[in-house]
Amino acid sequence: MTKLTLSRALNEGLRKAMERDPKVLIMGEDVGKLGGVFRVTDGLQKDFGEARVVDTPLAESGIVGTAIGLALRGYRPVCEIQFDGFVFPAFDQITSQLAKMRYRSKGNVTLPVVVRIPFGGGIGAVEHHSESPEALFIHTGGLRVVACSDPVDAYAMIQQSIMSDDPVIFFEPKRRYWERAEVDTAGGLAEALPLDKAKVVVGGTDVTVLCYGPMVKTCLAAAAAAGEEGRSLEVIDLRSLSPLDTETIFESVQRTGRCVVAHEAPVTGGLGAEIAARVTEACFYQLEAPVLRVGGFSTPYPPSRLEEHYLPDLDRVLDAVDRTFAY
């Protein structure tokens, strides 16, 4: 076991994947000598060479478009998009090409491309550096969309994503890059939860709190605070945002009768809306209250001096929990 930051855990996971399979490539802006702006690819170009860790021209559509071509040729590219707000130039390649190739070819073509995106706010950044665009990808059939929340999952999930023959949009919780945890980098992935399974992080009986990425830590803190007041929250890290592990979600909500979904992304048209609809349908008779959502406002991401208002914090999660008891 080694104590690693989330950023370092991703780095170790990438290294393992590159050692395991010579077809794995890393491509993106500043991923080489610099090691990426968050140092996730630190040292990999030095060890694996410029042909496998590619500093690309500054063009995101080109990064994903050429990754598709490399995948057609048998490679497994891992693309780094530098910040969430810069994925949009590549949006066409991701949604119109990457997501649909398998379907169009009746399964003859698989595109094992991973697109890594640091997402979310809370780092005091300027515009386009704090966004949570996951719903746009969840809405697109053919993409797996996952989000890691801690170093242990980061290490395993990046490797599982690279091994997946489906394209994976891999969201990394930017403001948690420096969080540390013990990670077992010696063992294999046999013990790791499958990529498409949600994880019950803390068991509870009163309310199911669903979250992912940076909000997991927030919701765990909320569960601890609620526990002091005698309320038992079950916190589930969704991990796979598409496809959703509805089995784990429904089992929990049918037990607790209350459900709160928390994400940084705007609630309007967000993943919380999708979950609310599905939970309502599957757990209608067990529900004691409507499914409540906690998330960003239906506005652009504000200037960073206001982001603490925009980002759901422990109090806003607890406020929603309280409201589920008011029905």
Binding site: L34, L58, V126, F297, P303, R305
Partner: protein, 381 residues
């Protein structure tokens, strides 16, 4: 050939992509030693007063930049993108513009913003996280800073197409200038802007500050030919100017803007310069570039050469330099104070200006959040 060989072949290109161009390979009117040279295509009649005024802008914007870096270090700004080394490219081109012209900047054009009369504290607001810019582009002929790389080249081209439709092309017409960097030339948007401007003959000048580095990536990662040569393939002229020579940047931009306003269409200007500092205050260039390169460029400083020219030709006396230093101190003190005193915005402004008219959903989100905030105040009381 391995993947790596391609990069090396490009560096050895006789067009000297990655090396230092000889003066014959770019337009220069003032050498790094401060010697005035003539160029047949760019005659420049300029008074001593004008040169002193350019020098003043160079000195003041470098001071503002210096203060902003310090304010970031002190935690007053979230981040700052320094223009150090690019003062001449920005002041030379910025001063070539007419008030009615429109400029579209990236996030590093503090020198252009200065020339357009924007209060530098507006820039500090953005980098402090108090606003996303927030100024009125019409007021200063300066569009908002654009952070997504290259997007603004299309906006500038579209704006220029509007000028054509308004019949505002002509000898006294309007023109547009758009700024971007060497890295941006790889973006699809920039190449599409070149195409649009070319086929519509739009009155737009593409001003590329080639500062040699896109964060950690040297120009070789973006291009195998000097950037100004790209224009020819799109069907309009491209010129390379010494980006550390304020006089050359002024003359070349003025000519290109005049051509645009008269209906002769776009020009690509490659201002060959160097990013002397980090990409932003969060970047560490020692990880990817050699200190020796920086030393070479220090000898080509855009400000020192103007000072040498003024002194050698006795166009400015000691009092001028002393007064400017005092003014620079005043500007520095003013923006430090303004930055430190800048209040955080009201949280309810999050909900403003999302749409032109109020809508029920957003109003209910706002009201709920206001009530939520009030509930804490009640507890505190």
């Amino acid at each position: 050939m391995t993947v790596n060989d391609a990069g090396r072949a490009a560096s050895a290109d006789p067009l000297r992509l990655g090396g230092q161009p000889e003066s014959a390979e770019f337009i220069q009117l003032l050498t790094p030693e401060g010697e005035r040279v003539e160029h047949p295509d760019y005659p420049l009649e300029i008074s001593a007063e004008e040169v002193r005024s350019l020098y003043r802008d160079l000195v003041l914007i470098r001071r503002i930049d210096y203060e902003a870096i310090a304010l970031q270090r002190q935690g007053e700004l979230g981040i700052w993108a320094s223009l150090l080394g690019q003062e001449a490219a920005q002041v030379g081109s910025g001063r070539a513009l007419e008030p009615k012209d429109m400029a579209f900047p990236t996030y590093r054009e503090h020198g252009v913003a200065w020339c357009r009369g924007l209060d530098p504290t507006k820039l500090l607001e953005l980098f402090r996280g108090v606003s996303h810019g927030g100024w009125d582009p019409k007021e200063h002929g300066l569009h908002l800073y654009t952070i997504v790389i290259g997007s603004q080249t299309l906006h500038a081209t579209g704006y220029a197409m509007g000028i054509q439709r308004d019949g505002a092309v002509g000898e006294d017409g309007e023109a547009v200038i758009v700024y971007f960097g060497d890295g941006a030339t790889s973006q699809g948007d920039v190449n599409e802007a070149f195409i649009w401007a070319s086929v519509t003959n739009a009155p737009v000048v593409f001003f590329c500050q080639n500062n040699q580095w896109a964060i950690s990536e040297p120009l070789e990662r973006q291009s195998r030919v000097p950037l100004y040569l790209r224009a020819h393939g799109f069907g309009f002229p491209g010129v390379r100017v010494d980006g550390n020579d304020v006089l050359a940047c002024l003359a070349v931009t003025r000519k290109a803007m005049q051509a645009a306003r008269e209906g002769q269409g776009p020009t690509l200007i490659e201002a060959f310069t160097y990013r002397m500092g980090a990409h932003t205050t969060t970047d560490d260039p020692t990880r990817y570039r050699l200190a020796a390169e920086l030393e070479t460029w220090k000898l080509k400083d855009p400000i020192e050469r103007v000072k040498a020219y003024l002194v050698r030709n006795q166009l400015a006396d000691e009092k001028f330099f002393a007064d400017l230093e005092a003014e620079s101190d005043e500007v520095g003190a003013r923006i430090r104070k303004a930055c430190r005193e800048m209040p955080d915005p009201d949280p309810m402004t999050i909900f403003e200006n999302v749409y032109t008219e109020p809508n029920a959903l957003l109003e209910s989100e706002r009201d709920q959040y206001a009530a939520y905030l009030d509930s804490f105040e009640e507890v505190t009381r």
